[in-house]
C-alpha cells in the first residue's frame, strides 16, 4: 500500500474517532435534556419561579422526566413555564398532579418537581396546564419562625413566673412539695389503695372461678347455656302433646265403653238379654250344671273308649295280615322326612 494512502487512512480514522466522541458527548448531553426523545409540551403557571432556567430538570416520583424549555412572563405576577415531558411517562401523570419549583438538594439547581394527585384525573396530555404550588420562600419561613420565637419567649416567661411561685411557697403544688403532712397522707392513701387493690384482686379471682364453674353443664346455668337442651325440651313437649291427643281419644273411647256398659247394666236390670237370663234364672243354672256334669261323664267315657281303641289298633299292627301295610306306611313317612 502506498505510504500516503496509509497515512490518509490513519488520519481519517483519527478524525472520525474524534468527531464520534464529540457527537456522542453532544448526544448524551442532549438526551439528558430531552432534546432528542419524544416529548410532549406541558405548561405550568407560577407567580415566582425562584431562579428557574430553561434546561433545568423536571422530576416526577424521583425520575428526571423532562426539562424546562421556555419561561414566559405573561403578566406582572404570572410566569408560564413550558416544559417537555417524556411521552412514555405522560400516561402515568394524572391531570390533578401539581408542579412545584424546588432546589435539587441543599445547593443544587432549581428543578420542577411534579407531585402526583389523587390518581382520579385523566392522564396528562400534551398542551395541558397542570396546577402549581407556590414554593415556601425562605423569608416566609423566617417570618413564621419569628412568630414562633415570640410565642416561645412568652411561654418561657410564664413558666418562669410559675416556677418562682412554686419556689416561693404559693399555690397547691408548692404546698404539696413543701408540706410533710400531705406527703404522709398521700403515703397512707397509697397504702390503702394497695390493700384495696389486693382485695379486689382476690374478689376477681373468686368471681373468675365462679364464672368458670357456671360455664360447666353440671349446674342450672350450665344447662341453660347448653344448646341441646331447648331441642330436647321441644321434643318432649311435642311428645307430651301427641300423648295428650292419644289419651283424649282413649278417654273418649272409655266414655263410650262406660255408656255402653251402663246401657247393658240397665238392660240386665230390666231383664233383657242372655246375661240377665244367665244371672237371674235359677233353673237355667241348674240345667246348665247338670248338662255340664253329663258332658263330663260323657267325655270320660269317650276317653276310655279311645284308650281301648288305641290298644286294639296297636294289636292290629302286629297282625300278620296288616303288618306289611303298616311297614309300607312307615317307609313312606321316613322318605318324606328325608
Amino acid at each position: 500500500m502506498d505510504k500516503s494512502i496509509a497515512t490518509n487512512i490513519k488520519l481519517g480514522a483519527f478524525v472520525l474517532a474524534g468527531t464520534a466522541l464529540l457527537i456522542t458527548a453532544i448526544y448524551f448531553i442532549g438526551q439528558k435534556q430531552s432534546m432528542f426523545g419524544n416529548s410532549s409540551m406541558v405548561y405550568a403557571v407560577f407567580r415566582d419561579i425562584n431562579g428557574l432556567k430553561p434546561g433545568n430538570n423536571v422530576r416526577y416520583s424521583g425520575i428526571n422526566v423532562g426539562s424546562v424549555k421556555d419561561i414566559t412572563m405573561v403578566a406582572d405576577t404570572v410566569v408560564v413555564i413550558r416544559f417537555g415531558l417524556r411521552k412514555d411517562i405522560l400516561p402515568h401523570i394524572k391531570s390533578d398532579a401539581h408542579a412545584i419549583i424546588i432546589n435539587d438538594g441543599l445547593v443544587g439547581n432549581m428543578i420542577v418537581n411534579i407531585l402526583p394527585g389523587k390518581s382520579t384525573g385523566r392522564p396528562l396530555q400534551g398542551g395541558d396546564t397542570i396546577r402549581s404550588f407556590a414554593r415556601i420562600r425562605t423569608d416566609e419561613m423566617l417570618s413564621t419562625l419569628s412568630v414562633t420565637n415570640e410565642n416561645a419567649a412568652l411561654l418561657t416567661a410564664e413558666l418562669l413566673k410559675i416556677t418562682r411561685d412554686i419556689s416561693g411557697g404559693k399555690g397547691v403544688i408548692s404546698s404539696m412539695i413543701s408540706d410533710s403532712t400531705i406527703a404522709r397522707d398521700l403515703k397512707e392513701t397509697i397504702h390503702h389503695l394497695r390493700h384495696t387493690a389486693e382485695a379486689s384482686n382476690k374478689a376477681l379471682v373468686n368471681i373468675n372461678r365462679l364464672v368458670v364453674s357456671l360455664d360447666k353443664n353440671n349446674n342450672l346455668l350450665g344447662m341453660v347455656r347448653d344448646t341441646m337442651l331447648p331441642k330436647t325440651i321441644k321434643q318432649t313437649l311435642s311428645n307430651i302433646e301427641n300423648s295428650s291427643g292419644e289419651i283424649s281419644v282413649v278417654i273418649r273411647q272409655l266414655n263410650d265403653l262406660i255408656a255402653n256398659a251402663d246401657t247393658t247394666v240397665t238392660n240386665i236390670r230390666k231383664g233383657r238379654g242372655a246375661i240377665n237370663y244367665l244371672s237371674n234364672d235359677r233353673n237355667f243354672v241348674d240345667k246348665v250344671d247338670r248338662t255340664v256334669t253329663d258332658l263330663d261323664s260323657a267325655v270320660l267315657q269317650i276317653n276310655n273308649a279311645a284308650i281301648r281303641l288305641n290298644q286294639s289298633l296297636e294289636a292290629l299292627r302286629y297282625h300278620w295280615l296288616l303288618k306289611g301295610s303298616f311297614k309300607k306306611m312307615e317307609k313312606e313317612k321316613a322318605g318324606k322326612k328325608e
Binding site: 500516503s4 497515512t7 490518509n8 490513519k10 488520519l11 483519527f14 478524525v15 474517532a17 474524534g18 468527531t19 466522541l21 464529540l22 458527548a25 453532544i26 448524551f28 448531553i29 442532549g30 438526551q31 439528558k32 435534556q33 434546561g55
Partner: protein, 258 residues
C-alpha cells in the same frame, strides 16, 4: 532617559511585530480561499500534527484525569460530597483543563516544530528557492500548517477529554467502587451544551494561534541557524501566552452570552 528610550523601543518593536503578525494572519485568510489548494500537503500536515500527537496528548490527558481525581477525592470525601466528584471532574476537564493543557502541549510540540522547520527552510533559503521556482511558499507551507493545527487541535482536545475522564473513572472505580455507567451518567448529567460548545469552539482558536505564531516565527526567521532555535523557542513562549489570553477572552465571551 535611556531606560525610557529602551522601553519605548521595546513597545514599538512589540507593536511592529504585532502588526506583522496581523498582516501575516490577513495574508493567511486571503490565501486560504484562493486556488490552488494544497490538499495533499494539508492531509500530510494533519497526520503529522494530529495522529502523531495523539499518544502524547492521550497520556497527558489520562494522567491529568488520574491526578486530578486523586487530589480532589480526599477533600470531597471530607465534605461528604464524593458523589459530586464525577460532576466536578467532568466540568473542570471539559471546560478548562482539557482544552488548555492539550493546547499547551501542542504549542510545545507542534508550535516549536513548525517554527523550527520553517526557520530552517528560511535560513537554508529553501523558501526563496520555492518562490523562484514559481511555487507559492506561503500557501504550501504556512496555510496548510495553520489549517492543520486549526482542524486537529479540537479533535485532540476531545480525545484528551475522553481519555482524562476515563482516567478519572479508573480512580473512582478502584477507590470508590463506582460503575462505568453510573460514573458517565453523572458526567453527562452534569455537563451541558454551555460546557461543551464554547470549550470546543475555543480550541479552533487555540489551534489557529499555535499554527499562526509557529509559522510566523519560522517564516520570518533571521540570523542563520541560531535564529532557528530562537524562532522555535519564541514560537512556544508566545503561543503559550497567546493561548492564555485567548482562553481568558473565550471565558469572558461565554460569560456574556450564557
Amino acid at each position: 532617559m535611556k531606560l525610557l528610550n529602551t522601553l519605548i523601543r521595546s513597545v514599538l518593536n512589540y507593536l511592529e511585530e504585532l502588526g506583522q503578525l496581523s498582516r501575516f494572519a490577513g495574508k493567511f485568510f486571503r490565501e486560504v480561499v484562493r486556488r490552488p489548494f494544497e490538499g495533499r500537503e494539508l492531509l500530510r500536515q494533519c497526520y503529522n500534527m494530529g495522529n502523531k500527537s495523539l499518544l502524547l496528548v492521550g497520556v497527558t490527558g489520562f494522567i491529568i484525569g488520574l491526578v486530578f481525581t486523586l487530589q480532589s477525592r480526599p477533600k470531597m470525601l471530607e465534605l461528604g460530597a464524593a458523589a459530586w466528584l464525577p460532576s466536578m471532574v467532568s466540568i473542570s476537564i471539559v471546560r478548562e483543563i482539557g482544552p488548555i493543557i492539550t493546547a499547551l502541549i501542542c504549542a510545545g510540540r507542534i508550535g516549536s516544530g513548525i517554527g523550527a522547520e520553517l526557520g530552517s527552510m528560511r535560513v537554508t533559503e529553501q523558501i526563496d528557492a520555492m518562490e523562484v521556482s514559481g511555487t507559492n511558499p506561503f500557501k504550501y507551507l504556512v496555510v496548510t500548517r495553520i489549517l492543520a493545527t486549526t482542524l486537529m487541535i479540537p479533535i485532540l482536545v476531545v480525545m484528551s477529554d475522553a481519555i482524562a475522564l476515563f482516567g478519572s473513572f479508573l480512580v473512582e472505580s478502584i477507590k470508590g467502587d463506582v460503575s462505568f455507567r453510573l460514573y458517565f451518567d453523572e458526567v453527562f448529567a452534569s455537563l451541558d451544551f454551555i460546557d461543551i460548545i464554547p470549550a470546543t469552539l475555543k480550541t479552533f482558536f487555540f489551534g489557529f494561534a499555535i499554527g499562526l505564531v509557529g509559522s510566523f516565527r519560522g517564516y520570518y526567521c533571521k540570523h542563520g541557524t541560531a535564529g532557528v532555535g530562537v524562532a522555535a523557542n519564541t514560537a512556544v513562549v508566545e503561543t503559550s501566552m497567546l493561548l492564555f489570553v485567548l482562553d481568558f477572552l473565550a471565558v469572558m465571551v461565554t460569560d456574556i452570552f450564557y
